[in-house]
């Protein structure tokens, strides 16, 4: 019997496979295909204090082995989430990660206060969304602003606090250390990379927002590098994401230092990906004689 469980900030997940925020809605759509209790945790669509409409369409473009989105945090607001979605999600034996955003520090503080008082397992602070004018990535790309924001949020956060990092930075370690110093319990990375696609026939951007966030298999090697860097500069659990498509990818990220991995965009190609990734990790551990999933975390033997 292989022990697939991992621990993130004192919370035990039955396995290291999560769904990435924004790619799994609130779980309802994929609950039609398989039992959500199979998942280690579900990170829900990014939430804000008030409902948000998001950006005008088109919101998506396809790129080589990837996609660019500019959804822009469309969501029904934290109140609706608590009333309508938590009761649904709690029917399943899995952990709930509330991904939260705001325009200002006090926005972040107030939504964290509300969300962390509700029946969820983790707060994931999204300081890395490239698709909103105020807040989002603007907060996540400077060490000082990250430190300040995390410190303020920490004061009111009653649940384990995951800080979600932006890859659009010169030095990911500087940001990771700022989050750690201000009280983050865990880090998740990477969010999307700012990108653009132009339709050469219309000579207009494909996205109405002009630019958006790149995700999918194309970004995987960048994610692995950043996870490895971060794991080597802070003492926090790391949730890895960015292009995970197979059990082998998940194992690679865990070897680089991820305590758990999230499946995002690849879900759109195959909605069963998280289940297959769980099986794939299990198969790898079996084949290589590991008893516990946690044995491979950070186990890369660098030169």
């Amino acid at each position: 019997m292989i022990d697939m469980s991992v621990e993130i900030a004192g919370v035990k997940l039955k396995n290291p496979v999560l769904t990435a925020s924004g790619t799994f809605g609130f779980g309802r759509e994929y609950a039609e295909l398989y039992d959500l209790s199979k998942l280690g945790a579900i990170a829900v669509k990014g939430l804000t204090s008030e409902p948000r409409n998001g950006n005008p369409p088109p919101r998506i473009a396809e790129t080589p082995m990837g996609m660019i989105n500019s959804v822009g945090l469309q969501n029904p607001g934290i109140k609706s989430f608590i009333e309508n979605e938590i009761p649904f999600l709690r029917k399943f034996d899995t952990k709930i990660i509330a991904n939260v955003s705001g325009n200002t520090v006090s926005d972040y503080v107030s939504i964290t206060e509300i969300a962390s008082s509700s029946d969820i397992d983790f707060i994931e602070l999204n300081i890395s969304c490239p698709n909103v004018k105020a807040g989002g990535m603007a907060f996540g790309t400077g060490a000082a602003s990250v430190g300040n924001l995390v410190a303020e949020v920490r004061k009111v956060c009653k649940k384990p606090l995951i800080v979600k990092l932006s890859p659009n930075v010169t030095d990911i370690c500087e940001i990771a250390r700022a989050a750690e110093a201000s009280g983050a319990d865990a880090l998740s990375l990477i969010n999307t990379i700012l990108a653009m696609k132009i339709d050469i026939n219309t000579r207009r951007p494909v996205l109405k927002n002009n630019v958006g966030g790149l995700s999918g298999r194309a970004v995987f090697p960048i994610a692995v590098r950043m996870i490895w860097q971060v794991k080597n500069c802070v003492n926090l659990p790391v949730i890895g994401m960015g292009g995970v498509s197979t059990g082998a990818d998940a194992v690679e990220m865990m070897l680089a230092g991820a305590d758990a991995v999230a499946v995002g965009s690849v879900m759109f190609s195959d909605p069963y990906t998280p289940i297959k990734v769980i099986d794939g990790i299990h198969g790898y551990l079996e084949k290589h004689g590991f008893n516990k999933a946690s044995d491979i975390i950070g186990a890369v033997n660098v030169y």
Binding site: T23, K45, P57, I60, M65, Y272
Partner: protein, 253 residues
């Protein structure tokens, strides 16, 4: 209710300059598909996103797709042959065409004709106007001819039927006959024009819309379409549509 099914290609035939007609054995999806619904198809391993295609016809075991060869995904579909496997999510969409009603005017532009054929078969006393760029790309005309009371064709270049857009033939039919419903599917400008005509005649109008999609099931919120209401809000083509009452939607370009 939708599922993932591995269908089998029964036939895949080029039917015009750019259009293909594919029949897929897919009993679970075909067993419950409704007119207006679509399937989201995996087109090979190197494309991250599936491709949404409307169900054009369905006999409970097989469904039929009529699609245009436009880019990487659809061109991959053109290469499939009888017996090939097809990874499908479907049937998708909750906004569908009404069924079991009578006196329906169907207005299709290009590949927009596809979902209307299925709708024609599930309703009574239908008439149709189909618009195409040119005669070389006119498709499904025989199929519509056999299930419709009236069929008018328009082509942009006048090589088949009336010259110009579908508007004149639509007005012609509306003058001569009484319709209880209008169903339309096609490019945005056509949907706009038809909606206006329907409103003028006070005929309930259902339009099938398109938007770029990722998940196809309502999880990613990528396929937003502007919805009429006091403040700006969005519906989602894959989940709330693809068929909407014309009055609900803001048809931007």
């Amino acid at each position: 209710m939708y599922i993932q099914e591995d269908g089998t290609v029964l036939s895949n035939i080029k039917i015009s300059e750019t259009y293909y007609d594919m029949t897929v054995y897919s009993p679970k999806i075909a067993g419950c598909a409704k007119p207006g619904q679509f399937v989201n198809i995996k087109c090979g391993d190197d494309l991250l996103l599936r491709r949404p295609i409307s169900i054009c016809d369905c006999d409970g075991e097989n469904f039929r797709l009529v699609y245009e060869n436009r880019g990487a995904g659809t061109s991959m579909l053109t290469r499939l042959i009888t017996g090939d496997n097809l990874d499908i999510l479907g049937p998708l969409g909750n906004g569908v065409f009404p069924t079991g009603v009578s006196r329906v005017l169907l207005v299709g532009g290009g590949c927009g004709a596809a979902p209307l054929l299925f709708a024609a078969k599930k309703n009574n006393e239908c008439s149709a106007v189909l618009g195409f760029r040119t005669c070389k790309n006119a498709v499904l005309t025989d199929d519509f001819y056999s299930v419709c009371e009236n069929l008018l064709i328009a082509t942009d270049d006048g090589t088949m039927g009336a010259s110009g857009t579908v508007e004149r033939p639509v007005n012609l039919l509306l003058e001569k006959h009484k319709f209880s419903y209008i169903f339309a599917c096609g490019p945005r400008p056509m949907l706009k024009a038809v909606s206006i005509i329907a409103k003028r005649h006070s005929i309930p109008c259902y339009i099938s819309t398109e938007e770029r999609m990722a998940c196809g099931v309502g999880a990613c919120l990528c396929c937003a379409i502007k919805t009429k209401s006091d403040k700006e809000t969005y519906s989602h083509v894959c989940k709330d549509g693809p068929v909407f009452e014309a009055g609900q939607i803001v048809l931007e370009d």
